[in-house]
């Protein structure tokens, strides 16, 4: 399992202040990495830099050994898929049509989807348990279903890296779990490199192989969940007194606000 993504001393600023500073990060295929940090700590900016929406002013982002600036938009879309935080659909597309959009970077201008595209889309729908939703209009779905469809669309891109920006934020407990189960399976069974930004610390700690905690655009702590999720780290980064113990069933770190 090689390194698919490597960030070297990446710095990005929106103007006056640095949103990311001297950030070093790498991702292997088959790895599920959680990014934590308070609002404004640079989590979403990090994802955008990796996806080439923003270009870093300092350092470099290497994808499979090549700087991402060397990729065209469609080449990049074949390697990196993004499940963004909010998506609203103003036009009436079926779930199948939405997932088919994931094939965009593979089709030439006047080309229609072929057999292979449909096979890929079928797998993506099956992996995300969206097959039975296929015909439904996207805007009629619940939040959890919609999130699964967006993950299916990302899978249809056949990426090597999938980025997710708070995929569980508006979901209830069952759907949160379902999404993380899915991400875990995708990383460990299919070799996808997954980076997930989340505010659900306990949940992320239970599923992620590794965690990165950001503070003011820098990495404050990184490593296995039990090393990153400590009362002192959380107090320092989030400015909030907590106690951390182990979940009696899963043994993963559990955060309680005091």
């Amino acid at each position: 399992m090689g390194k698919v993504l490597k960030l070297r001393k990446v710095g990005f600023s929106y103007g006056q202040t640095w949103a990311l500073r001297e950030l070093a990060f790498s991702l292997q295929s088959g790895e599920l990495v959680g990014i934590l940090g308070p609002n404004g700590s640079g989590k979403s900016t990090l994802l955008k830099v990796v996806d080439g929406i923003l270009s870093a002013q300092e350092g470099e982002v290497l994808l499979k050994g090549l700087p991402i600036s060397a990729y065209s938009r469609s080449d990049l879309a074949r390697e990196v898929a993004m499940v963004a935080q909010e998506s609203h659909f103003r036009f009436s597309f079926s779930v199948l049509e939405i997932v088919l959009m994931g094939r965009f970077p593979y089709l030439s201008r006047f080309q229609f989807e072929g057999r292979h595209d449909m096979d890929v889309v079928f797998e993506a729908l099956r992996a995300t348990h969206c097959l039975e939703l296929m015909e439904r209009p996207i805007h009629e779905l619940s939040g959890g279903e919609k999130q699964r469809v967006l993950i299916a669309r990302a899978l249809a891109q056949e990426p090597t890296v999938m980025l997710l920006d708070e995929p569980t934020s508006f979901l209830d407990l069952r759907y949160k779990r379902e999404i993380f189960d899915l991400l875990w399976l995708l990383a460990h069974n299919t070799g996808l490199g997954v980076v997930v930004v989340s505010h659900d610390i306990d949940l992320a700690a239970r599923y992620c192989d590794r965690m990165v905690m950001l503070k003011e655009g820098r990495i404050y702590s990184t490593g296995p969940p039990e090393e990153v999720i400590t009362a002192s780290n959380i107090a320092a980064v989030y400015g909030c007194e907590v106690t951390v113990d182990n979940n009696p069933t899963t043994q993963s770190p559990r955060v309680s606000i005091v």
Binding site: I53, A81, H88, R90, F93, S94, F112, R115, P137, R153
Partner: protein, 352 residues
């Protein structure tokens, strides 16, 4: 890909929602409609033309009446052809604007693009330019200016999603129309005085030569836009999403705006301000065939041609022997339709 549960469920495959054959079939059906409405329109009018006479004319029978020949080929057909081309263009423009601005209420007329084109044409006429190249170029410039103003005025930090963009269009429309009126009122140019009628959209002065100017541009423009149909699909899901999916959003938008401005500018310089076609027809297209632009572009364009030929037939027959400007008919249908859309859909499109 591919690992999860692949040995649990048998591998079945799913049918693609849009096959090329389906697209061709739908287009052919609409072409049939177009043919029927053309025949119908050739028959209707102040002077009577019978089906039999029309048949004789087209098969070149010696029984063909000279008078009927004149009416059909010199009066009605050039007008029908221009009406078809105009409807095709306006509706095409509507679909593209709706996708790019992600607003189902956008239309070349409502956004002020038509009046921008008209203003360009009026200035061209005052400057004494010709209809061959000078006036169409001025119209193109006017339409482009209108789009630019709409985009600048409607731009907000969150993107182009609000109804601000429609308000910007309404304001630009009012402003440009008043400038046109000013020129018409103050100019000594005889040609301009006939253009008062033209402010409401008028096809009564149609010539084959006008269609010959627009036709090739429209053909090439349509091919270019059709090549961007999947880009438009993805852009309706949001510009950032489109970037994630590999769309070069800025370039796609630029090409679309240029092509549509050129087409609308040309059309407006010949037929005047005909509103709401680009609103009504794409809406019906979406209801019938969904939102995939590979279907929506041909369906709406052909549908727009059918619609405007029908509307123009009504315009020239309803108070026969007098005539109405065709824009009166389209606005009469379109304005209530706009209100209906606003009430039921808001500025979003969610079919429920």
């Amino acid at each position: 890909m591919g690992g999860i549960g692949s040995n649990i469920m048998p591998r079945t495959t799913i049918k693609r929602p849009l096959a090329p054959m389906k697209l061709i079939r739908i287009s052919l059906i609409l072409c049939l409609f177009l043919f029927l409405v053309i025949v119908f329109s050739l028959l209707l009018g102040t002077a009577k033309v019978s089906m039999n006479q029309l048949w004789c004319l087209f098969v070149g029978s010696p029984k063909a009446n000279e008078m009927v020949k004149l009416i059909v080929f010199k009066i009605r057909l050039p007008r029908i052809v221009l009406a078809g081309i105009t409807g095709f263009s306006l509706s095409l423009g509507g679909v593209v604007f709706q996708a790019l601005l992600r607003n189902p209420l956008a239309d070349p007329f409502i956004l002020g693009v038509s009046s921008g084109g008209a203003l360009g044409a009026v200035i061209g006429i005052i400057l004494g330019l010709g209809f061959g190249l000078g006036i169409p170029l001025m119209s193109f410039a006017g339409a482009l200016l209108a789009i630019y103003l709409v985009l600048v005025m409607g731009r907000r930090k969150i993107g182009m999603e609000s109804s601000t963009i429609l308000l910007a269009g309404v304001i630009i429309n009012a402003f440009f129309t008043s400038i046109i009126m000013f020129f018409i009122a103050t100019s000594a140019n005889d040609r301009l005085h006939t253009m008062l009628f033209w402010l409401y959209g008028d096809l009564s002065q149609s010539l084959y030569s006008q269609s010959l100017v627009i036709g090739p541009v429209l053909f090439i423009g349509f091919i270019i836009l059709f090549g961007l149909a999947r880009h438009l699909n993805v852009i309706t899901a949001g510009e950032e999403t489109a970037l994630h999916l590999g769309v070069n959003v800025e370039r796609a938008k630029m090409i679309c705006f240029l092509v549509v401005s050129l087409i609308i500018g040309l059309v407006v310089s010949f037929s005047g301000l005909i509103g709401f076609v680009g609103l009504i027809v794409p809406h019906l297209g979406r209801m019938a065939f969904g939102s995939d632009h590979r279907v929506l572009l041909p369906v709406s364009s052909l549908g727009g041609a059918v619609f405007l030929i029908a509307a123009d037939t009504i315009a020239r027959t309803v108070i026969s022997p007098s005539e109405l400007p065709v824009g009166v008919i389209t606005a009469f249908i379109g304005a209530p339709f706009f209100v209906y859309l606003l009430k039921t859909r808001g500025s979003g499109w969610a079919r429920s």
